[in-house]
């Protein structure tokens, strides 16, 4: 290997990635936009939603229960409906996700010391949100029932003490933002690495490279290193923003984070180079990147957990480097993951890197001869 040639190539690749205004835009705009989307829009949280009430009871118990709903932070306002038909229209039109129905003998039954019934009507079109809202309603009602039974003068001991570890407020942003170190760097690195050979083929500069004394594997390394540099830079930048701007502290070791990032990026670069050596123009490269990236992002566990996937899909998900990286990222940021557990996720990524890089090298050698 000739270091002078390699260095010249790496410098050129970095310059090329940032001097072309189009490439620069494709490199900078999507990550910035995605960062804000992920940070503020990618949430499954339910807060600030209106709650519907269908109350036929005029007793004190129901009034007190209403007051509890009103105070709850999850709900923005109470909308009262007069009949089931009215409530159904409201749910159909998605004005409210939930209507709590209280029968006319609610207060009387409770006062008589008997079991009262509350019906909760939920919009099943959004099954996830509906279940969460149902959880909110149940815990408010349960708390109310206990307090009612024990009388407000007594200690407000609740039956279930609930705590969340690693992210006590179950804050979406804390869970989401660290994963951007994986997903955004993946997008950028795939763009840089996946497009670079195709762009050179299109511009006709690729032959110019091939007739220089640069050897195919040197060209391959020259294409890989800038991806690693940009990916590392971007990853560390996002990590800093996560810690400094969003106040999400890094509970684990920064060194482990960096090691994980390097292995992850190598795997992604392998995929990028593989796409690159397969396609002949930028348009095809773009398509190839999309066909890989969409499933990789969706099946990474950032929106819905990998364990919810059907059994046949789970082994396939293991071939996605982002799945492992997201576990590592949430681990080192939120739960102080020990290195032994990180290692369980490092070796699959290393394996992916070895396989994709050698496949790319083989294909590249074949296509340049």
């Amino acid at each position: 290997m000739n270091w002078i040639r390699l260095l010249a190539l790496i410098i050129k690749e970095l310059l090329a990635a940032f001097r072309d205004p189009r490439a620069r835009l494709a490199l900078i705009l999507p990550p910035v936009l995605q960062f804000f989307l992920f940070a503020f829009a990618a949430t499954l949280e339910i807060s600030n939603v209106p709650i519907g009430v269908l109350n036929h009871d005029w007793g004190t118990a129901s009034t007190q229960l209403m007051a509890r709903f009103e105070r709850a932070s999850a709900f923005s306002e109470i909308r009262r409906y007069g009949s089931v038909a009215e409530a159904q229209v409201a749910i159909d039109r998605q004005d409210v996700m939930v209507v709590v129905q209280i029968g006319q003998d609610f207060s009387r039954t409770l006062a008589a010391g008997e079991t009262a019934k509350i019906q909760v009507l939920l919009d099943g079109r959004k099954s996830n949100g509906a279940q969460i809202v149902n959880g909110y309603v149940s815990s408010i009602v349960t708390r109310f029932a206990i307090d009612y039974k024990l009388g407000t003068a007594m200690t407000q001991a609740s039956e279930i003490v609930e705590r969340s570890w690693y992210n006590p407020n179950r804050d979406y942003r804390s869970a989401m933002i660290p994963t951007l170190i994986g997903s955004l760097t993946m997008a950028s690195v795939l763009m840089i690495v996946g497009m670079s050979v195709a762009r050179e083929r299109e511009l006709g500069t690729f032959e110019q490279l091939l007739v220089s004394p640069l050897q195919p594997f040197e060209i391959l390394i020259g294409k890989a290193v800038p991806g690693l540099i940009v990916g590392m830079g971007q990853g560390i930048l996002i990590a800093l923003i996560t810690v400094l701007a969003f106040g999400i502290s890094l509970t684990g070791s920064a060194l482990v984070l960096v090691v994980g990032l390097v292995v992850f990026l190598l795997a992604v670069i392998g995929v990028g180079l593989f796409i690159s050596s397969l396609v002949s123009n930028q348009q095809q490269a773009m398509m190839g990147i999309m066909v890989f990236m969409m499933p990789a992002m969706m099946l990474s566990g950032f929106t819905s957990p990998v364990q919810n996937m059907p059994a046949w899909l789970q082994p396939i998900a293991m071939a996605n480097p982002l799945v492992h990286m997201i576990v590592i990222l949430r681990g080192v940021f939120l739960r102080d993951m020990p290195f032994s557990l990180v290692a369980e996720r490092l070796w699959p990524m290393a394996l992916i890197a070895v396989v994709t890089l050698s496949a790319a090298a083989w294909l590249f050698q074949r296509r340049t001869q």
Partner: protein, 379 residues
């Protein structure tokens, strides 16, 4: 030339352009990717890959002092479809599993659980969830609460007690009682697929003519702007309808999603959305002269807003006010709302009419902008 002859010539031109476009669509690999591969991929991803159905949540049950009551509670937890329950007496055993992500949460029954229960006191149940996955944590909370309430009730009934002032909660999940997330994810993915075909493919096929220089020869013939646009729209519209048919068939027969509304309403409503998507594609094509640029803009302007702001995946109501306001101009939002309603509820006019009107208004604006910006010349 007579008016009739002129109209005849115009139809012939449009027909020729449509045939040409259809041939190219079938022969170009990138059209195939956008028109066939990506839709199938998206449908599979949203049908199988993404699921909020936490049906086998792994929880650890810590029983510090076993008793018939604790065994009974364990059995009742295990009987629900939500949990895969592991049991131990020492909670520290589970701490590592929680840290490694092998457990999603743990439920601890205190040493005096049985005594407190007998006294009718609060029983000392502790739930610890893994907050690094907030959604699953929220679901576990709800499930545990529900399981606990029903167990207490059952226990009281068995014991012949009438517990004082107890409230039972009876949740009824309308339209999706099985609580399958697939039922709202698949209609949502149809929106993304149609957006992809409408916007991305249309923008690509127009910019391709610029990139390859074929537009120059075309513009020098008697073809007018309107004819050119119709020539591009018709094949993509038909392809969109085909994609829609595939999606609907897959939704009904592969993913077993009920269709409670009418097929006619479904097709009509989807066609309206398709027109909006095509409008976005055409508008992009008036700006983008290369396929690369066109695909970038289409992804940023059509796909990402559809994914984030249509409300099928993420909760728009919980977003900051500015983003909520932005979601009002995302066509996919109206489409997803209407589509979920047609599939799961029925032909509800109070939902469909406003959504259709909103989409039509957007379509009108998009086509007006396209007509204004389309140039019949090269400069």
């Amino acid at each position: 030339m007579s008016t009739q002859g002129r109209a005849g010539a115009r139809w012939r031109r449009i027909r020729a352009l449509v045939i040409k476009e259809a041939r190219q669509l079938i022969r170009d690999p990138s059209s195939l990717v956008v028109g066939f591969v990506l839709p199938v991929l998206l449908l599979l991803l949203f049908g199988f890959g993404i699921s909020f159905d936490a049906t086998r949540v792994k929880v650890g049950l810590v029983i510090e002092a076993p008793s018939p009551d604790t065994a009974w509670f364990f059995a009742s937890l295990s009987n629900t479809p939500f949990f895969e329950v592991h049991q131990t007496t020492d909670r520290r055993v589970f701490y590592d599993d929680l840290a490694a992500g092998r457990l999603n949460g743990l439920i601890a029954l205190s040493g005096d659980f049985t005594e407190r229960l007998a006294r009718g006191d609060s029983a000392g149940v502790q739930v610890i969830t893994d907050g690094s996955d907030p959604n699953t944590a929220n679901l576990i909370s709800g499930y545990v609460l529900g399981a606990w309430n029903s167990w207490i009730q059952q226990r009281a009934l068995t014991a012949g007690q009438t517990t004082a002032a107890f409230i039972t909660i009876e949740p009824r999940f309308w339209y999706n009682p099985e609580l399958e997330s697939r039922r709202f994810l698949v209609p949502g993915s149809i929106a993304l697929i149609l957006m992809m075909i409408g916007a991305l493919l249309t923008a690509l096929v127009v910019s391709r003519e610029w990139e390859r220089g074929t537009i120059e020869a075309l513009l020098a013939t008697p073809v007018g702007t309107v004819e050119f646009i119709i020539g591009k729209l018709v094949p993509n519209f038909l392809l969109g309808l085909c994609a829609m048919a595939v999606c609907i068939l897959a939704a009904l027969f592969v993913f077993h999603i009920p269709l409670r509304g009418s097929l006619i309403a479904l097709i009509a409503f989807t066609s309206v959305f398709l027109i909006v998507a095509l409008g976005i594609g055409l508008l992009i094509s008036t700006v983008a002269r290369t396929q690369f640029l066109a695909s970038q803009i289409a992804l940023l302007l059509a796909f990402l807003p559809g994914l984030y702001f249509s409300g099928f995946l993420f909760e728009v109501a919980s977003m900051p006010a500015a983003l909520r306001a932005f979601s009002a101009i995302v066509p996919a939002k109206y489409f997803v709302r209407g589509l979920q309603t047609i599939f799961l509820v029925g032909d509800v006019a109070s939902v469909l009419v406003p959504c259709t009107l909103a989409l039509l208004a957007m379509g009108a604006i998009l086509f007006a902008l396209t007509a204004r910006n389309t140039r019949q010349r090269l400069d």
